[in-house]
């Protein structure tokens, strides 16, 4: 069975998946009027995964079901389990297999490069651990398009509800958030969110250079610093189904310090304002 054919051929024919009743009215209303624009876009969902075979068995069918109009690709970041087999079983267009572990930044960048080379208009990062609900992807893309943004961050802190991480994590997130505000003047409520949509312009920039170790907050600052538009959109997050966060608890404090250094270093760099080109 060749399921990959469906991802390209059925893009315009298939209606959007029914929205969940839990979605707020404003979201439904916002995306409702602009379905045509979103429909015409070629969207690639990038699923970075490190040893997430179990979780992917749930997530990938969910992606087919809830986002039939979008393509997706799993980036296997040197997994030692069946991650690649699970992705491959769903067709050859669905897997980028890195020869060894590059870390989340290198894996996501690989997906971005693929999306850019394949001519996609928008790419969406949706982590392989099941934290990000595919039902939210369409509204995230709509937010990107409607707000004319280059990067739309799915934030779990704008509206209430869903999984909002532990207290210690939230403190760390608040520090990173203030730090980004200090350097960019913009308040981003959920800078560590890996659930985000990206325009083609930003894909081009990030294909060349993308933060390696802590890409989520760093890339937000990098985008702002280079003159790209960043938007936020409320999403609900789920508790991860399997695997381990790439941010382990003991390293959390160090994580915050390193991000702050990385952002300060980027602030010192001349960027030449690629967003204007």
């Amino acid at each position: 069975m060749d399921m990959s054919g469906k991802t390209t051929g059925a893009r315009h024919a298939v209606e959007f998946a029914p929205r969940r009743e839990s979605d707020s009215l404003s979201q439904t209303g916002a995306s409702g009027g602009h379905t045509e624009t979103v429909k015409d876009l070629r969207v690639l969902i990038i699923v970075p995964a490190l040893n997430e075979a179990e979780s992917l068995e749930h997530l990938l069918p969910e992606l087919y079901l809830k986002c039939p109009q979008f393509d997706f690709v799993v980036v296997d970041d040197g997994s030692t389990d069946r991650t690649a087999d699970v992705a491959r079983s769903l067709g050859p267009r669905t897997l980028l297999e890195l020869p060894f572990n590059l870390g989340i930044g290198g894996a996501v960048q690989c997906g971005i490069r693929y999306a850019f080379e394949q001519g996609y208009d928008v790419c969406v990062q949706c982590d392989g651990d099941g934290q990000h609900d595919p039902a939210e992807i369409e509204s995230l893309v709509s937010a990107l398009v409607e707000q004319g943004a280059d990067l739309a961050i799915g934030s779990r802190f704008i509206n209430s509800g869903g999984f909002r991480s532990t207290f210690a994590r939230r403190v760390g997130i608040a520090v990173v958030s203030s730090w980004i505000q200090l350097f960019s003047g913009r308040r981003i409520s959920d800078p560590t969110s890996g659930f985000r949509a990206m325009s083609r312009r930003l894909m081009k920039e990030f294909s060349n250079e993308y933060p390696r170790q802590y890409p989520e907050p760093e890339s937000i600052y990098a985008a702002l610093h280079r003159g790209f538009r960043v938007a936020e959109h409320p999403v609900r997050m789920r508790v991860r189904r399997g695997g381990q966060s790439s941010i382990r608890s003991l390293e959390s404090a160090l994580y915050v310090v390193k991000i702050c250094i990385a952002i300060a270093v980027d602030a010192l760099r001349r960027t030449g304002n690629p967003a204007r080109k």
Partner: protein
């Protein structure tokens, strides 16, 4: 007498050190580019064992009370510079490696896609 013995040992060590670097160069386990600093350090070692007066002269010039401290400081700075230059080289290697790994994954995807297209086409011919 004692000093002569130390000079003899130091000279032998410097010669062995240089010989080892040249051996590594000959067997191509060390690139000429990165060997320059090491060769230079060996030559300075040799020079100082032949003319130890240079150390006393340089230490006095810089204001060291004990000449051996001058040697330690010099050596420490040299090693710091060497290890820093290696950190820079490693970062560059890491960047290149990351790009090569991504290229590998992207090319492999294209290959697998064309392979599966080929196999489905041949199946179509058979039926």
């Amino acid at each position: 007498m004692n000093e002569d013995r130390i000079r003899l040992i130091a000279g032998a060590v410097a010669l062995l050190y240089l010989a080892f670097i040249v051996f590594k160069l000959r067997t191509q386990q060390l690139s000429v580019n990165s060997s320059l600093m090491w060769l230079l350090s060996g030559l300075i070692m040799l020079l100082l064992t032949v003319f130890p007066g240079l150390i006393y002269w340089a230490a006095q010039l810089a204001g060291f009370e004990v000449p051996s401290n001058a040697v330690f400081v010099l050596w420490l700075l040299t090693l710091t510079a060497l290890s820093f230059s290696q950190a820079v080289a490693l970062s560059k290697n890491g960047d290149q490696l990351r790009k090569a790994a991504q290229d590998n994954a992207l090319l492999r995807q294209v290959l697998e896609e064309s392979k599966s297209k080929g196999s489905s086409a041949s199946q179509g011919d058979a039926s």
